[in-house]
Amino acid sequence: MSLIPYMRSIFQISQNNVTRRHLHISTVLNKSRAGRYRPKPKIVQALTYEMANPPHYIASRKSWNSWNTSNVKDGNRPSETLVEDLFIRNFIQGTWHGLFLSEIIIKRQHNIIRIAGIINRKMMPGQIHFLIGYTEQLLSYWLHCPIRMELSSVPSKDVVYKYI
């Protein structure tokens, strides 16, 4: 008998389900879209290797963008790591504006964070070295650990894997 109060809420949920229209799970829209690039009419899109492979290929054709052990069992600081990674990506996108051609890869090992990526050659090497020093120092003040940038540079078009 004591179950009835609980049951009441369940009934309510099921009632709601029936009354709502639930457009997003209709056959048209119930579809995985995130991380997938589709051709657009009249626009040619240049995709990198990373963009050309949809998310279900992670670990088979392509790899992760963040490397850490926060999300294994008993991992350390999972939520903080995520927020910090978002911060690092935003910071790099803003500081290295229009320079990164690839995704920003963040690897954590012990107390060090290594930020890797492919950049284009729009800036002089001296300026790039300035930005490397600046980013490493400022982020290490922010995250309280040593930061290393590991960059490779390519002439602009070299990262295009395919056009759709």
């Binding site: 001296g126 070295h129 020093g133 600046y134 309280h144 650990c145 940038m149 960059l151």
Partner: protein, 646 residues
């Protein structure tokens, strides 16, 4: 059966051996080796020693990327300083906007990442905080806290603050650990003496206290003033101390000794007199001298121009040896300066000094220590003593002696001397073996060094050199912007005709000549250019001809002959003949005509012979005959014809 017995025998024999060996172990005493005291980093050194040396290692400062890794000598400096400028920008932001950064993220807290604390009120600060700031060498912060405290601190703290101000007056690089800046930039601001009013106030207060506090204040003030090149003030203060009989410590006396050459300039007798005065005072007051006392005394003797300076120096050295004071590298630097004149005796003394530092371990005790290896290598190159040079280099690479080269300028001078020494004392093969090991992995040569090497080869016509010209050519184009005249010296060294026909070097050398020609064309198009000798272009044409690139050589010669006003006419007869004969050999009428035209224009002899050779060519046509008439005139040609008929 026999077989079984044999097996049994063998087993028992093994058993016996086993028993014997175990009994011998049990009989011998286990000896535990004595404990070796090791540092915390010794395991890392041990691990490092297991790795073979990597000769293509890159400096960790720069990014290992073809676009980002520096090539030119100047780029090494620019990029390293850019990197550190970025760091400095971030440090500045962190300092100015510390409130925006997380404060308690690390656990345990790491001091280096925490934003600096800003104090605005008196209630926030205390003497402990001031002492902590002084211990962290933060000059401006310490002064700020001191002012917030209304100068209301103990005399000891005031003394410490004065010491901080006197020692780290304006140095910021040391505080921020900017190693690259210290490596590349020669500090020019040693004379800057900031915070004068604060220092004077502190000093004025401290000298009015009890005699011990006052003495300490006098000591530190003299040291600070000397360190920042305020020599007259420091000397006046020293005089005052002497008059009032204020006790000074050995560090202060050392600084006073350092002052002598600046104070007395060219007055040699006064310098020596004052040196002995101060040493006598040190002796009388029973202050124990240290190695810096010796070094600074030797410095005075070094800059003094008196006849018996070697005897004086010897006396000092013997006296300090008797006091059992171990010499530092700076002492040896001064000894080298005093005892090694450019003669046989000087050379012997030099070798003796090198012998005495062998297998010794040195620590940095004096800023002048850093000059030792540079000067020793310089002397080795002056004496042209390869053995001594190798010995110096060996002891330089031993242990952590690399620390004795502290700036890029010193490193440059050291390797420059070593390279020149090896160049002047070994064969071409030996030199280039050494050169390839050293450059660019250990050291990147400057323009001056490369020019020096090429200048040395200027009159060397050794065929062995050919093998190394491509390497030298690529190096002078990679590491620095070198003048065309130096490149032309290298070009003129090329003797392609002595190489075998199938040699792979030929293409490289021909390409060098072609690069040179492209460079000349660019140079000529400039508004202001230094006139180029046409002997160089002739040289290029010869190399191209030998490399079977006839069309290109004709292009070069056409330009040289037709635009002769842009060149200095230095082409000699030998070159003209070589070019002409080669064109004739290759049956290239166009080229031969160009050379003939040049010879006619410059009035070379043998024009008639040249015309004869040209006429005899099987590909010679009537049109060519007309051209020949236009060039050498009908008479010459007629005389040729008459010669032919007769």
């Amino acid at each position: 059966m026999n077989r079984l017995r044999c097996l049994l025998d063998r087993t028992s024999w093994y058993e016996l051996r086993r028993l014997q060996s175990s009994s011998s172990v049990s009989n011998s005493k286990i000896k535990i080796p004595a404990r070796i005291q090791r540092d915390s980093t010794d395991i890392l050194y041990a691990l490092e020693s297991t790795i073979p040396k990597d000769f293509i290692n890159l400096s960790y400062v720069y990014h290992d990327d073809p676009y980002l890794y520096p090539l030119r000598k100047i780029d090494y400096r620019n990029r390293a300083l850019s990197y550190e400028a970025g760091k400095k920008a971030a440090i500045w932001i962190h300092k100015e906007h510390g409130d925006l950064f997380p404060k308690h993220l690390s656990d345990p807290e790491i001091e280096a990442f925490k934003p600096p604390l800003m104090y605005t009120e008196k209630s926030q600060v205390s003497e402990e905080i001031l002492l902590y700031t002084i211990s962290k060498r933060m000059v401006s912060d310490a002064l700020h806290i001191y002012k917030l405290l209304d100068s209301n601190v103990s005399n000891e703290t005031k003394q410490l603050l004065l010491e901080l101000l006197c020692f780290y007056n304006h140095e910021t690089a040391a505080q921020n650990n900017l190693h690259l800046e210290q490596w590349f930039v020669i500090s020019q601001d040693t004379h800057i003496w900031q915070y004068t009013s604060e220092i004077n106030e502190l000093f004025g207060f401290l000298v009015k206290q009890d005699s011990l506090t006052a003495a300490a204040a006098y000591n530190v003030m003299i040291c600070g003033l000397t360190k920042h090149l305020r020599t007259a003030e420091a000397w006046a203060l020293y005089q005052k101390c002497e008059e009032e009989n204020i006790p000074l410590n050995i560090t202060t006396y050392n600084y006073i000794l350092w002052l002598i050459p600046d104070i007395f300039g060219h007055k040699n007798e006064l310098k020596i007199e004052n040196l002995f005065n101060i040493i006598n005072i040190i002796n009388k007051k029973r202050v124990k001298p240290n190695v810096k006392t010796l070094n600074n005394a030797l410095n005075v003797i070094r800059v003094t121009n008196v006849d018996n300076k070697r005897e004086i120096a010897k006396r000092f050295l013997m006296e300090f040896k008797r006091l059992n004071i171990k010499f530092s590298l700076a002492s040896y630097y001064y000894i080298m300066n005093i005892f090694t004149g450019n003669n046989k005796e000087g050379h012997d003394n030099f070798l003796q000094i090198l012998h005495s530092i062998e297998n010794e371990t040195f620590n940095i005790q004096d800023p002048i220590d850093l000059k030792f290896f540079k000067h020793a290598m310089y002397l080795a190159s002056i004496f042209n003593d390869r053995e001594a040079g190798d010995k110096i280099h060996k002891s330089f690479l031993a242990k952590d002696n690399y620390k004795f080269i502290a700036t890029a300028a010193i490193e440059n001078a050291y390797y420059s001397s070593y390279l020149m020494l090896v160049l002047s004392t070994s064969t071409i093969e030996e030199f280039f073996k050494f050169y390839e090991n050293l450059i660019p992995n250990v050291f990147v040569p400057s323009k001056r060094i490369l020019t020096g090497i090429i200048e040395t080869f200027k009159y060397n016509s050794s065929p062995h050199l050919m093998k190394y010209i491509p390497r030298l050519w690529s190096d002078i184009n990679t590491y620095c912007l070198i003048e065309p005249s130096t490149k032309f010296i290298l070009l003129r060294l090329i003797q392609i005709d002595i190489l075998p026909a199938d040699s792979v070097l030929r293409t490289d050398l021909v390409n060098i000549a072609w690069d040179c020609w492209n460079m000349i064309q660019k140079e000529i198009k400039k508004e202001r250019y230094t006139a180029i000798e046409n002997a160089v272009t002739a040289c290029i044409a010869i190399i191209l001809l030998h490399g079977n690139r006839v069309e290109e050589s004709i292009k070069v010669m056409t330009y040289t002959v037709k635009e002769s006003n842009v060149f200095l006419p230095t082409m000699n007869e030998k070159q003209v003949n070589e070019l002409f004969n080669n064109y004739i050999f290759k049956k290239c009428i166009e080229g031969a005509f160009l050379i003939l035209e040049y010879s006619v224009n410059s009035g070379f002899p043998h024009i008639v012979e040249m015309a004869t050779k040209l006429q005899k060519l099987s590909v010679f046509t009537n049109v060519d005959r007309q051209r020949l008439i236009d060039l050498v005139g009908v008479e010459a040609l007629n005389s040729l014809d008459t010669e032919k008929t007769s």
